[in-house]
Amino acid sequence: MLRIVGGQVYDPAHGIDGVVQDVCIQDGRIVENVDAAPTIDASGMIVFPGGVDVHTHVAGGSINFARAMTPEDHRRTTAFIRSQTNRAGVGGMTPTTFATGYLYAGMGWTTVNEAAVPILSAKHTHEELRDIPIVDKSCCVLLANNEILLDLLEAGEMERAREVVAWQIWASKAYGVKAVNPGGVAAWKYGKNAEQLSEPVDGYHKVTPAKIVAGLAQIVDDLGLPHPLHLHCNNLGVPGNLTTTLETMQNLDGRRAHMAHLQYHAYGGDDWSTMRSEAPQLADYMNAHRNFTTDAGAVLFGDTVTITADGPWQHLLYKLTGRKWGNLDVENETGCGIVPYTYRPTNLVNAVQWAVGLELLLLIDDPWRVFLTTDHPNGACFWRYPEIIQLLMCRDFRRDCMAGQSDKALSRIHLPDIDREYTLYEIATITSAGPARALGLPRKGHLGVGADADVVIYDQDDDVARMFGHPRYVIKGGEIVIEDGDIRATPEGRGLLVRPPHDEQIEAFLRPLFEDYYTMSFDNYSVEMERIQQPEICDCIDTE
């Protein structure tokens, strides 16, 4: 039991905008009232619902590959020395599993969605998610280049495809469905990519990226998944890719979708030297079409490592940078590429990318449909979110950051003309209430009665980045986990799952395919329930 007294509460889900009121906690949930509970005096402090990250990469084959590829970063970063409460680890560009939990919680984030899991490495992913303490975790399974599904789409067998997807979600113990460069990663196995939405994917006659996207979105809706299709469009990062992004959104024809890291998909121009921001056009489209949510995938200057299932893009990035390159091929399912990268303010392309992420956050009117992410670790590491909050809340700070940029760079972006400054209420929306709603998690992202008692308390501070970087208290499931920068407790987080109903007969169809095409046997493929820490099966919804 706990009572938080006298804090200014920001709870956008209930329209509460900085009202001084008490928050009461019992048995890990928010309740109406508690008697004789210990209190936290939050006078002069700000109370937020715990942060929710809708799109991050914190566990599984690709981030682990990135960890292995960047020992130079582990050396220079601050180490977590083992103590009574925490285990050893390192932070940096690709924090170790336990450190990931400490860093997220240390910033006030209490729920994260791992955005890209191949089924073949789902066991590994869940083992790592288990080792990320404090935060609750969900994950999205990669299906847009799964050859069993592509074959079914080729044959026009939509109903069977739906049964297969339902089976695959449960087999991987996932929460949602992710599409990455639909068709492009399958084509990458032939050294090709999928750049045109309406052209057949290499190796197929009828399947096009457009059909994959529409088909998966339809299946996700038919199954009633609480989180819509999580979509990484074709042509990520390429100048002039706005056309592809808009075509993809039009092609969805009113179906729901979450457009991942839209910053990487909002460029104009014909090549690297003419690349420019098309954020206003994309923001207009977002504003007019309420079937979409998005996350920024914002970029901050500095070192990071890019990891994505988008193998062909990563090969291009390697050719551009001459840095290290890792490539993984995940049998019939997907792939992945890793390239360490440094975003530089003096680089024209990077300067445009930096601006586009902020422009999207500032130009999309509805904070309930655009969320704070950096596509960790691609645009920047998640522990740098407070810097982005400062950029959103302080126009003058933004101007200062742009002061050193070249006229050429400034002519390619729209940020200097944008005066909007986020309010605390809007920050609470884009960091917590909005992403929780987009993920379809009814007990997350708000402080109403019945919500999970995930609460962050910040000391009021004019230095926005410091305030959001160092919460005074972080409470997870009713337990104080961070106090004044110290880790007080490291409870296990929950694993959030969905179990869409499917016809058991589908196994008879799948089993022989495994014998013919997979290195893993069908019986070893599914993730067992025992691997999930504190599993919580969330309800499917009616999407009509």
Binding site: M69, P71, E72, D73, R75, R323
Partner: protein, 277 residues
Amino acid sequence: MSAIRLTLKEQPGVPLETEVLSPDALADLAHDEIRSLPVQLGKRRRRLDDFFEIEGERSDEIEVHGDLSLLKWIGRGMSRGRLTIHGNVGMHLGAYMTGGSIEVHGDAGDWVGAEMGDGLISVHGNAGGQIGAAYRGSPTGMRGGTIVIDGSTGLEVGMRMKKGTIVIGDTAKDFAGLQMKGGNIVLLAGAELRTGAWMIRGTIISLKPIAMLPTFRLARSYNPEFLRLYARFLSGLGITLPCAADEGRYDLYSGDVSVPGKGEIFVWQPAEAAASR
């Protein structure tokens, strides 16, 4: 200001991390503060005076005595002052250092001067591998400064170094100048196999014949002008580089063409050897 003198009194059972043994860390500290500085013994934190007898305070001149073979990171990141070691010393001596000088009267371990920016390290005995190298995963090794090893060294001397000078008195093991990007390596007694492999730029000078990789091509034999200037710089370190035309000349090999690179390896041919070819 007299030197701070430390004498090892207890040999650690496992490696001891002593990056506090650096003028930057000690120069402004009183005696008691020096004694209580933290050192990492395996996974445990201990005090500096658990291992050392300490005399003196507030000085950027430091003398360390004893067999320090298990002591790592001495002089890490130092930017000034003088550190003298009487005895052998362990791995990562002077790594990341940006100034000042280190002198070792004994042998040193691997990674001497790894990723250093400036300063001088001289080791009068032998040293391990990866002298002035880039740490695993890093794109760039030493970016400046000078390392002189009187004895022999291990593998990968100057790996990915970008600038600065490394002089090796006795034989260097395989892969000296591996993936070198710039700077100079002087091999007074030659090297074992695969010298200059993956070399992109930079200069290796060997005073003894070395086995050349097939991906290096003999470009010419001559007495390059810049070597006279370079010899003058080296003479300041007590090292003599022959460069007079009547003494002999240098065979210039260029490579490594497998990268492809524009590195150069100069191999000294004394007059009689050159004449007999």
